[in-house]
């Protein structure tokens, strides 16, 4: 891994001359006031709280042993000024709208193929292309109900999209828990900022699921579907079910009868209208996908096709977050929306193309290689950080199946000061995953999960590989205020009677008199 030394990196708190950027000045002042000791103490409290609350993740060490570790929240928040956030928000909404169009198109008219923009062979060869979804149009035409795109800032500070996640993006619970923990650990940091709240996320998600649930009359019954407690994101599944006040179901709780999905309850079968599923397409229905899946519900796709149940995200959305399809997203935005993309892609090479393959393999030591169908950093090889032998192996693998790989330029991720074990601050690389919800309209919660590489100079932010996270503060400015609820400035609380302290005021007086009176 190359270090930050030689190359320039964009730091989000300190400008090139080492002076804090104006919006970060109060943060720097407050951190100086607190000092290293306070940060160390707050860190110890954080670990204790997270262990007690069970906010942990499994860390697999090189020997293969799995350890339960407190989620590594860094105590320095990452601040995003309002103007920057507006760019991100619009860019993401645009991108997600285009991706949603694309999924619809792939399983229906295939206009983008007919227009010669995306080759059909590429789409059909994607591992997450789902033939079973052909011709199914879910309620309101929404496929990508929950989306989380990974954003990075390059050396100039420009925001770029690194990856799209429109299958089952995870991390939302950590974003919410991080904020809650920060209000408990170092509330004084909040004092100088107007941070936009994020705790409306579960309510937004619930509303979005309700809005797409096919229901004739009465309340929609919504469930969160988890693969089970053994899943590494089980904490998040329980968190979302609890926060939305809905049932958390496993496959054995669901049953399909006559194209209708039910769950088994103590009072018989109960109709399910919408399912927020947290497992991949391949496992959801053994009749349509992997027949060996024990996690699936037989007949679910039949019910889905009949339109009696909504599944979020829709079946087959994986085709849109494939890394080879990623290259075409800017084209999609132009094709479907007639707009110019507001957020750029990172420069990417499609290795399916012979010319690009040769060029990429020549520079194998300078590029990042990613398998197209994976997520969560699986199988990613960072050229500059990899040894000769492994690179030769990689070259072989890429040559065998060039369509299953892409190559990207290395992005010098921006840095944010981060607390080291001794309480001192040091710059570490970060990325950002904001979360969008698509129901009636696209809503993006102000903030997101900032992941941070805790090793000096490292660009790997995945928590499963030693990364941490930061609370992300989107600042409020007056342009946002128009959309917020009206002020309660004139609020005057009613006068209530005083709290009573004793029942015997009368007698206490009596006693006092006794004491005062001479015997």
């Amino acid at each position: 891994m190359s270090t930050a030394g030689s190359l320039t990196t964009f730091d989000e708190v300190f400008a090139a001359d080492g002076v804090p950027r104006p919006y970060a000045q109060p943060l720097v002042d407050e951190l100086e006031r607190l000092g290293a000791d306070s940060l160390v103490a707050a860190g110890a409290l954080r670990d204790a709280i997270f262990m007690r609350q069970g906010i942990t993740f499994d860390l697999t060490n090189p020997e293969g042993a799995v350890a339960d570790r407190p989620f590594p929240l860094d105590l320095i928040p990452r601040i995003i000024p309002a103007a920057e956030w507006r760019t991100i928000k619009r860019g993401l909404a645009q991108r997600i709208r285009a991706l949603n169009h694309f999924v619809d198109d792939v399983y229906h008219e295939r206009e983008i193929v007919k227009a010669g923009i995306v080759p059909w062979t590429l789409i059909a060869s994607r591992s997450h292309f789902a033939r079973a979804a052909h011709g199914i149009r879910p309620p309101r035409g929404v496929y990508t109900h929950i989306a989380g795109c990974d954003l990075v800032r390059d050396a100039n500070g420009a925001w770029k999209v690194l990856e799209d996640n429109v299958r089952t993006p995870s991390g939302i619970s950590y974003m919410l828990e991080n904020r809650l923990a920060m209000t408990r650990l170092i509330p004084s940091l909040f004092a100088h900022f107007r941070v936009r709240p994020i705790d409306q996320y579960p309510a937004l998600l619930h509303a979005a699921l309700r809005s797409v649930a096919p229901v004739a009359d009465g309340e929609a019954r919504i469930v969160v579907w988890t693969p089970g407690p053994a899943n590494s994101a089980y904490f998040e599944h329980t968190f979302l079910a609890r926060q939305m006040g809905v049932e958390l179901v496993e496959a054995s709780d669901l049953v399909v009868r006559d194209d209708v999905c039910y769950m088994r309850t103590t009072s018989g079968l109960a109709r399910v209208n919408a399912i927020y599923r947290r497992l991949d397409d391949a496992f959801i229905d053994p009749l349509e996908f992997r027949p060996d899946s024990l996690l699936g519900v037989p007949g679910l796709i039949r019910a889905y096709r009949a339109g009696t149940v909504a599944i979020a995200n829709a079946v087959g959305t994986g085709v849109a977050d494939d890394k080879a399809v990623y290259c075409y997203v800017p084209e999609m935005i132009r094709f479907y929306l007639g707009e110019e993309p507001l957020l750029d892609n990172v420069t990417t090479y499609l290795l399916d193309d012979r010319e690009q393959l040769e060029l990429a393999l020549e520079r194998i030591g300078e590029l990042v290689f990613k398998p197209t169908g994976e997520s969560g950093g699986k199988g990613v090889v960072i050229g500059p950080a990899t040894g000769e032998a492994q690179l030769a192996e990689l070259a072989l693998a890429v040559r065998c199946e060039p369509a299953q790989w892409i190559a990207q330029e290395v992005v010098r991720l921006s840095t944010v000061p981060t607390v080291a074990a001794d309480g001192t601050l040091a710059a570490r690389h970060v990325d950002l995953r904001p979360f969008a919800i698509f129901g009636d309209e696209i809503r993006i919660v102000p903030g997101g999960l900032t992941r941070v590489a805790l090793e000096p100079g490292s660009l790997i932010v995945n928590s499963s590989r030693g990364g941490g996270s930061k609370d992300t503060w989107v600042l409020q400015d007056d342009a946002d205020a128009e959309h917020d609820p009206p002020a309660a400035a004139t609020f005057a609380p009613p006068a209530l009677p005083d709290l009573r302290l004793r029942s015997w005021t009368g007698q206490a007086q009596q006693q006092q008199q006794q004491l005062l009176a001479p015997p």
Binding site: G245, L499, W504
Partner: protein
Amino acid sequence: MLARIAHELFWLGRNVSRAELTARMIDGVFQADLQGRPDGPAGVTLSWEAVLAIMGSTSAGEQGAERLSRADTVALLSTDAGNENSVVASLERAREGARTVRDVISAEMWEAINAVHLGLADASIGVTGYGGPYSFVSYVKSRTALFWGVASRTMLRDDAYAFLDAGGRFESADMVLRMLRVALPAPGERAAGSPRDGQALALLGAVGGLQAFRRTGAAAPTATAVASFLLYTRSYPDSVAASIDAVRAALELADASPRASVPVLRLSRVLSDLDFRGRVGLGDGSELLEVCEIVGRELALADGDITDRYFGGVISPTHVS
């Protein structure tokens, strides 16, 4: 049992309950406040003024125009022993009460309440440090929960337990009612989309009822929906209806002739009134504030009735050292 002992137990329960609910309120409001807008319009927060109003805190109210800062208010309501409505003052009174009735309550209960003292002396449990009130609040919550848990496991279900329980539940009915009266929109105020929705939610979170509320149904968490929930829902233990029912049940148990007991009859009337109103609610929630005021008045009267009927003959003892 002795009227004096019953009185002490009733107030022991009230003070423990009051300390807990005050601490919870500080927690909820503090967190909502952090993410709000310090320079005025409070989108989703319950203001500290409202909290002071809930506490009927004369010490703060009389300072008039001079507005207290966030840190001052937290300190005033939590650790300021000079303010008789602070958490620490309530706990101190509870400890004094428990000491008086040490022979009646179990040793474990006494330990649970006496240890609070020692815990609060620990410097890491302050509210003024960089950590804010979190460790203080969680300490108070865990100690009071321990007290009630030990009480429910170790105490004979006799009159003594009934008065202790009645006191605890009476106080939670009173405090929740106070919270609602501050959080509900005033007459004439626009109800839908009101910033008070956020206040109600902050309070619901503070009393620990957020999850219970969500599980009761899919109603959006508006001020009126939250208020109906906290007022009428018998299946939620901290709702006003459930608390009043528990007080009534406890007094019925302790009273030799409950059918002739003024407080029991009054509480029963309030309860059936609440049940009726809960069923025929106007739908828009405009009646809720009025219901809260009526129930508040009735509770104050019931407080007097309880004192008259059970502690009427109590003369405050004169201790000579």
